[in-house]
Symmetry: C2
DNA sequence: ATGATTTCCTGATTTAGATCAACATCCCTA
DNA sequence: TAGGGATGTTGATCTAAATCAGGAAATCAT
C-alpha cells in the first residue's frame, strides 16, 4: 500500500467509468487530474453546499453518500436526490451559477472537487469531456423525468419497490453488491423522497420481508428475490 | 409583410431569448442560422419523435405545443413533459444518442430543427452557445427534480394549482398572457402528468371556478385571482 | 349537417395511505 | 455504560382521491 499520495488520480479511481473521466484517454485523465482537488472528508450531517451559494466547484462523490434537498416557504425539507459514489453534485447550479439545493452527507463521505472555471476551460479543448458532461446531464434529465412519471402513477408498494430496484442497479453499476446494501438514509428520508409517510415505508418494508422478497435488519437490506422485487416495481 | 423567406432567422424569432440564441451576438446568430432548418408543420396528434429513434436533430418549438411521454411495459402512456414555444425537445436523447420518449403535437406546431452534428461543431467554437446549452439542460434538471418533490408531497388541489401557475409563468416568459390561455392538452393528459384521475382534474377545475379563482370554458382558462392561485399551489 | 367518438362533468361508493397514538429500539453524548 | 433524543415499528381511525357509473358537451369524419 505505497499509494499515499496527497492528490487524487482519476486513473486509480474505481468510479472513473461513471464519472467525468469516462472515455478520456491517458492525457485527458492527466489534464483532468491537474484541476481536480480533494475535498476534506465530510462527516454524517455535514452540509456540502447551501442553496443560494455561488457555484464554485462541481463535486464528484468518491465514497459515501449525500442527499440533496430544497427547503420550501414553510421551512419544509424536500429531498430531490440521493448521491452515490461516481455521481456529480452541482449540475442544477450551472444554469444560474448558484446552487439551488442543499447537499448533506448521510455518512462519512469523500469527494473530489472540480473548479468550475478550470472545467470550463478544459471542456473547450476536450471533446470527450464535453460529451461526457452532456451525457451525464442528459441522463439526469431523463431519469428525473422518468421518475416523476413512475412515482406519480404508482402505489406505495410500487414506489418503494422501484426505489430499492433503482438503488440495487446503481450499486451494481458501481461494482458493489446489488442484493445486499445499506440504506444510509432514514425511513423519513425515503418517505420524503417518495412522497409517502414514514409509517408507510416501515409497513411496506415489513410486508416485503413477510413475503420473503427482501430481508431488512435496520439499515441493512438483503434482496432475496430480485426478480420478484422488480416485478413489484412494475 | 415582405418577410416570406423560406428560411428561418433567429434574429426575427420572438423565442430567441428563451432558446439557443440567447446571448449570442449577431455573428453567432448568423452561424446558428446557417445550420437551423425548418421542419414541416405538425398537425395535432402527429408524432415528432419516437422513443428508440436515433437522435439526429434537436428541435426547438416555434409555435404550438407538444407532449413527451414514455410507454411502459404494460403499454401505458406516461407523460413526462409539455413543450411550449422556445422549448427544446431532445435533451434526454443526448446521453444515448437515441430518443427515450415520444413527442407528439397537441395542436398545429411549427419547429426548427437543429442537426446534432452541426450543433456539436458549432458548440466547440461558440462558448456562449455552449453556455446556453448547459444552462438549458441545468434548468431542466432542476425543474424536473423540483417538480418531483412538489408533486410528491402535495394534495390534488395543490398539484393542479401548481400546474396552472407554472403554465402561467411559462406563457408570461414567452410574452403571452399569463392570465388567459388555452390548455392544449386534455384533462386526461393533465391527470396523467400530475398523477391524478381525470375526474379529479375536472372536479378541481370546477371547484376553483366555484371559488372564483379561475374561469374555465372548455380548454380556455382565465386566471381571475393569480395571487390566490399561487397561494393554493403553496 | 349529422351521427359517432372522444372528451368532460358530476354523483355515489370504496380504498389506499395519511394521521394519530403508543411503544420499541437504536445510537449518540456525557 | 447509562440516559435521552432520534429513529423505527405496529395498530386504530380517518380522509382524500380513486373507481364506478351515467350523462352532457364538444369534436371529428363523412
Amino acid at each position: 500500500m505505497a499509494n499515499l499520495t496527497s492528490h487524487i488520480h482519476c486513473q486509480n479511481c474505481s468510479m472513473a467509468a461513471l464519472c467525468l473521466p469516462y472515455q478520456l484517454d491517458q492525457e485527458g485523465m492527466n489534464r483532468l487530474d491537474t484541476i481536480i482537488q480533494r475535498h476534506k472528508p465530510l462527516h454524517k450531517r455535514d452540509v456540502l453546499v447551501n442553496a443560494g451559494a455561488p457555484l464554485k466547484y462541481l463535486y464528484a462523490v468518491r465514497s459515501g453518500s449525500l442527499k440533496s434537498y430544497t427547503i420550501d416557504d414553510n421551512g419544509v425539507e424536500q429531498i430531490i436526490d440521493f448521491h452515490l459514489p461516481g455521481d456529480l453534485v452541482g449540475f442544477d447550479a450551472l444554469a444560474e451559477g448558484q446552487h439551488r439545493s442543499y447537499s448533506q452527507a448521510l455518512e462519512t463521505t469523500m469527494l473530489c472537487e472540480v473548479p468550475i472555471v478550470s472545467l470550463d476551460e478544459l471542456v473547450i479543448e476536450m471533446p470527450s469531456l464535453r460529451k461526457q458532461m452532456m451525457r451525464l446531464m442528459s441522463s439526469e434529465i431523463f431519469s428525473s423525468k422518468q421518475l416523476l412519471g413512475t412515482l406519480n402513477n404508482r402505489s406505495a408498494h410500487q414506489r418503494l419497490a422501484h426505489f430499492l430496484v433503482t438503488l440495487s442497479d446503481r450499486f451494481k453499476a458501481r461494482g458493489l453488491s446489488s442484493t445486499s446494501f445499506r440504506l444510509t438514509m432514514t425511513r423519513a428520508d425515503i418517505g420524503n423522497y417518495l412522497g409517502l409517510s414514514v409509517e408507510t415505508i416501515s409497513r411496506i418494508l415489513s410486508a416485503l420481508q413477510g413475503e420473503g422478497v427482501i430481508d431488512v435488519q435496520n439499515k441493512l437490506v438483503n434482496i432475496i428475490e430480485p426478480a420478484r422485487l422488480r416485478e413489484l416495481a412494475h
